[in-house]
C-alpha cells in the first residue's frame, strides 16, 4: 500500500470504447453519404469473397458498389474483386485477427465514395474476433458453409447472436455432407430471434436473387 492508501476508482466503461467511438464515426460517415454497409464475417474458406463476386455479377450499376477486403496478409482478394470493375481497397491487418474500425475509417476517408450506395466489407476470416468489434455497419452478415458443420452456432455463439443475417453457403454440396440445416436455423434463432436466414449456392446461383433483393430493399430504405 502507498502512503496515501488504497483507493477504489469506479470506471464502468466498455473495454471496447475506442473501437465503439471509431465505429460511430463510420456510422455517421455512411449516414451522411447514404451508403448501406455490410460487414461479412465467417471462417476462412466459407465463401465470403465468392459470395461478394456472385453479388457483383448480379448487381446493376457496379459504380455504386465499393468493397473493402480484410486479410492478415496479401492483396489476393482485392485483385479478385477488382476484376469485377468495382472500387476496392485491401486492408492487411498483420497481427490483428479482425479489421479495426479506426483502420476502416481512414480507408473510407481515402476512397471516392461520391457514387457509392453499397459498401461490402469482408472481415478477416474467423468467427471469434470480428464478432467483438463493431465497424459501424448497417447489417452484420455471418456466413456458414455446409462443409463446416452444423454445430458452429453453438461453438461460436457471439457471432451468431450479433449478426442480422445468416447466409448458409455452398448448399449445392448438401447431398455430400452431413449438415442439418434445421439444426443451424434453430440454434441461430435461439442466439438471435430476429436473424434473417438465407440459403445460397454461389456456384449454381440458388438463393442469390433472394439475398440480393433483401440487400437492395434495405439499401433503398437508407436513401
Amino acid at each position: 500500500m502507498g502512503n496515501g492508501g488504497n483507493v477504489r476508482i469506479d470506471v464502468e466503461r466498455s473495454i471496447l470504447q475506442s473501437a465503439e467511438d471509431a465505429a460511430a464515426e463510420i456510422r455517421a460517415l455512411l449516414l451522411e453519404r447514404k451508403i448501406y454497409a455490410l460487414n461479412l464475417i465467417s471462417s476462412p474458406g466459407s465463401g465470403k469473397t465468392t459470395l461478394i463476386e456472385a453479388l457483383l455479377a448480379r448487381v446493376e450499376g457496379k459504380g455504386g458498389v465499393a468493397v473493402v477486403e480484410g486479410d492478415i496478409e496479401t492483396e489476393i482478394d482485392a485483385e479478385r474483386i477488382r476484376k469485377h470493375g468495382v472500387q476496392v481497397r485491401q486492408i492487411n491487418t498483420r497481427s490483428s485477427c479482425h479489421i479495426q474500425p479506426s483502420r476502416l475509417l481512414s480507408v473510407l476517408r481515402e476512397m471516392d465514395l461520391s457514387e457509392t450506395r453499397l459498401l461490402l466489407v469482408e472481415n478477416v476470416g474467423n468467427l471469434v474476433c470480428p464478432a467483438e468489434v463493431p465497424l459501424g455497419e448497417d447489417a452484420r452478415v455471418v456466413l456458414l458453409s455446409v462443409t463446416e458443420g452444423d454445430e458452429k452456432p453453438l461453438k461460436y455463439p457471439l457471432v451468431f447472436k450479433t449478426s442480422d443475417l445468416l447466409v448458409i453457403t455452398k448448399t449445392d454440396l448438401l447431398p455430400y455432407v452431413t449438415f442439418d440445416v434445421d439444426r443451424v436455423r434453430r440454434a441461430a434463432r435461439a442466439a438471435n430471434p430476429v436473424v434473417e436466414i438465407f440459403e445460397v449456392s454461389a456456384t449454381t446461383g440458388a438463393g442469390m436473387s433472394a439475398l440480393l433483393d433483401r440487400i437492395e430493399a434495405r439499401q433503398a430504405m437508407k436513401r
Binding site: 476508482i9 470506471v11 464502468e12 466503461r13 473495454i15 470504447q17 475506442s18 467483438e132 453453438l154
Partner: protein, 113 residues
C-alpha cells in the same frame, strides 16, 4: 490471441484513469466479462502482465467478474447459464431465448493514491 487487443485496451483505460486521479500505482482492475466473449482469463492476465511492465499498472491484478447468459424459457421463466445453450437448463424445453453474456467492461480500479 484476441485477448491481446483486449489487454491493450484495458491497460490504456487503466493508465488514463489512474493519471486523471493522480494515482501512483494501479494494484487491481475489476472487469466484467460475459461468458460469450470467449476470453481465456489466464491468457488475458499473461498478456496484460507483459504489456503493463514499466508502467504504473505493472503487477496489477486482473479480477474478472463473469457475466452468465440469461435464459428465458417459455415454460419456466428466467435462469442463468455459463454457456450458450439451446434448451432450458431446468425443464430441457426448447422454447428459449438467450440474452446477455456479452459484457466486456472495466468496473473499477484499485490504486495507490
Amino acid at each position: 490471441m484476441h485477448e491481446l487487443g483486449v489487454a491493450n485496451e484495458i491497460l490504456d483505460i487503466a493508465l488514463s484513469e489512474a493519471g486523471r486521479h493522480a494515482a501512483k500505482k494501479v494494484t487491481s482492475i475489476r472487469l466484467r466479462v460475459g461468458v460469450l466473449r470467449a476470453i481465456e482469463s489466464g491468457n488475458l492476465s499473461f498478456l496484460f502482465e507483459h504489456l503493463a511492465r514499466g508502467t504504473p499498472a505493472e503487477g496489477a491484478h486482473l479480477e474478472i467478474v463473469e457475466e452468465p447468459v440469461r435464459v428465458e424459457c417459455d415454460a419456466c421463466g428466467v435462469s442463468e447459464a455459463a454457456s450458450f445453450l439451446l434448451e432450458c437448463p431446468r425443464c430441457k424445453g426448447s422454447g428459449v431465448s438467450v440474452t446477455g453474456g456479452d459484457s466486456l467492461s472495466i468496473l473499477s480500479l484499485d490504486v495507490d493514491a
